[in-house]
Symmetry: C2
Subunit: 412 residues, 2 copies
């Protein structure tokens, strides 16, 4: 069965007129005889409204109930789209996550999809329906409602595409595709025709907000071709696909930044085996994700440990560390919330040397001090003072000629 | 297990402050050690907003999808109340109809409850939770979302109380209880301390909007004591209970009216066996409820047939009858949408004579012409010109001294 999965984000279904426009796009596809599965987000703004309500009625909203509340937005859009399509004379049926068994773990607000019962969807398609599924939501094995975190509808869509072995998963959004960097802070940013799963994974997890990281993991794992494109134009967008030869010819594909992290340092830690575990266990138990970790070379049996955490968890992490600090007899805890992480990404980095030194040189020339460095096979991230973010992005974009779809010559 | 079911209507949960107030009332009850099950409507106005959206996006919204849409309102209130209670330090869990298996038939927008799985609720109560259930919604046997019609949350509450064998079902609303008639059009209307299921059933089905008819049927069938009372005061309201001796001492307990019906007459119908079936089959097939039916005595082999239908279905019924009229070779179809039905109700009617003549005399004295009459053991309904509704209600309220909690002397 040839199947297309189309996901529309909140701005694409943000008003009755926009929903009508989406319905027309889907109808056009249906007229071509396609089997269409649509995955929708809530109307833009609606989820924020629900979140505000939760915080208005309790300081720390109960996690289980919070998900029951915020998952209503998608139920509204799927019903409206299905009503619209039926009104236009098309057969369409909406399904909540519970109805198509999008089963997740029980981590409320950031649940991970474990399985999807593709049979319900396939049966509905075989009945001639356009299938409209609520994104963002799931149901755990006990039947509790869960949600997948911000951008979770992307993951719903890709996971459904994977479960159905769909031919393509189209992510319709309010931008034209994936850019070399954020066009909002670098006007030379250029839309990419294609990007590899691994690069997209780094872009997403390092701050480019166009796709949820989990969705790219799913796409990579199940080899789902993802097309990121604009709801409001017919231009081709960016294909997120398996790495190919062309991609390797370019050293750097894009530049991402993230201002949502904070830096914490615990100083003068008595250095002995197991000390890192002692520091990070309480933080991990509190479900706080630690990102970059740097441990200095030990001097006189003492070391410093610096790492980054999400800004939202900074206060909690800081308090936990003050306890740890006492227990370990360490020097003290310091922190900084005004930092940003800037990353250059490219699968070509594997075969191109000199990328790191270009990064360091370009930033040094502009007087930008590097606070932390972290690298992987296909990315280099630096943590810098928050105020230099935009400058650093533009400098690096220039340094790697990202405004031009240029193929860097192989160094021999 | 001693259980109290408390249902709060839309005006009782119409704002964050009101939800907080409801949470405090429930907490107070919980502190007394009660097992509390709460059933909620959507915030007042929210369901209307959703209905408008549906009609904005399609002229005739698909029935299945309409229910998916309008059932979101209750999911919002149950989550908010549970968040509020948890924030106050109480254990509370919300459940949708699908989660507690409120199974209905598949008649969208007016589904009837077939069964409720009380085990989930009881298990949650045993875990020490305040259980918060979404009213108005159900799920059919294939897992489709259904809704129970306007006022359906009353039925959800009573059906849950019946399934749990609860000690009482309290219906919290924006009025003080059940009145002898609508206080909005008769200032002498008096709150009743108690009313029998049968009387309440007539009151509800004849237009008093305080309880959904189906909820009273459930209460009667399973003998659930229902207490209709105000959210905004601690005054006792009206107990809806099994008929008792006291009730029979009063000839008439209340007066209801209904302006939502229209009258249709088919004239000069060739009178032969089966003709009524020919007339009503197409109407019944179109799911239109016929209320009062009057057939005149046949003259020269012809008869007239008059009946009432909901005003919403008038146009459809009229068109169907024009066809039937041709097929049967009848004279023609006429109708009137500006009518109203006024009913006097009382279990005491069974033992008190003269009620009917008091009704006819009082109306005649005011020059109100009676267009149709229908009676049961405990009620007399008359259809009159719509403009006389308020006058008729006041006249009958006076005629039966309903402003006084007076016991009519038995006639010997």
């Amino acid at each position: 069965m040839k199947i297309t999965v189309k996901k529309f984000g909140g701005t694409s279904v943000g008003s009755m007129d926009k929903i009508r426009k989406v319905a027309e796009m889907i109808a056009e596809e249906r007229d071509k005889g396609e089997n269409v599965v649509v995955v929708l987000s809530a109307m833009s703004g609606d989820t924020n409204k629900l979140v505000s309500m939760a915080h208005e009625i309790a300081d720390i909203p109960d996690e289980r109930e919070f998900d029951v509340l915020v998952s209503t937005g998608e139920q509204i859009t799927i019903a409206l789209l299905a009503i619209c399509l039926n009104g236009m004379g098309y057969k369409a049926k909406s399904y909540t996550a519970s109805q198509v068994r999008i089963v997740t773990d029980s981590a409320y607000s950031r649940a991970r999809i474990k399985s999807i019962d593709s049979e319900n969807i396939k049966a509905s398609l075989s009945d001639g329906n356009i299938v409209v599924v609520a994104g963002f939501q799931g149901v755990d094995e006990s039947g509790n409602t869960t949600t997948l975190g911000r951008g979770g509808s992307d993951t719903s869509a890709v996971a459904i595409a994977a479960a159905l072995e769909a031919d393509i998963c189209e992510i319709f959004t309010d931008v034209e595709g994936v850019y070399t960097t954020d066009p909002g802070i670098c006007e030379k940013a250029r839309k990419l025709d294609k990007i590899s799963y691994d690069e997209m994974l780094e872009m997403a997890s390092l701050g480019a907000k166009v796709l949820q990281t989990r969705s790219v993991e799913f796409a990579k794992k199940y080899n789902v071709p993802v097309h990121v494109r604009s709801t409001f134009s017919t231009n081709p967008g960016t294909m997120v696909i398996k790495e190919d030869k062309d991609m390797e010819k370019v050293a750097v594909s894009g530049i991402a930044y993230n201002k949502d992290e904070a830096k914490i340092t615990i100083t003068k830690v008595p250095d002995h085996p197991g000390v890192a575990a002692n520091i990070f266990r309480p933080i991990s138990n509190a479900n706080i994700n630690v990102d970059m970790i740097i441990q200095n070379i030990s001097e006189d049996g003492y070391t410093n440990m610096t790492f980054t955490v999400p800004k939202n968890d900074y206060k909690k992490a800081f308090e936990l560390l003050e306890n740890t600090c006492k227990e370990l007899g360490a020097g003290g805890v310091t922190g900084d919330t005004d930092i940003s992480k800037v990353s250059v990404i490219g699968v070509g980095m594997k075969s191109h040397s000199g990328v790191a030194s270009t990064v360091f040189d370009s930033l040094a020339n502009e007087g930008v001090n590097i606070l932390m460095i972290s690298t992987s096979e296909i990315k280099i991230s630096v943590v810098i003072d928050g105020k230099y973010t935009e400058l650093a992005v533009r400098v690096l974009h220039n340094a790697f000629n990202l405004d031009k779809a240029e193929i860097v010559e192989e160094k021999s």
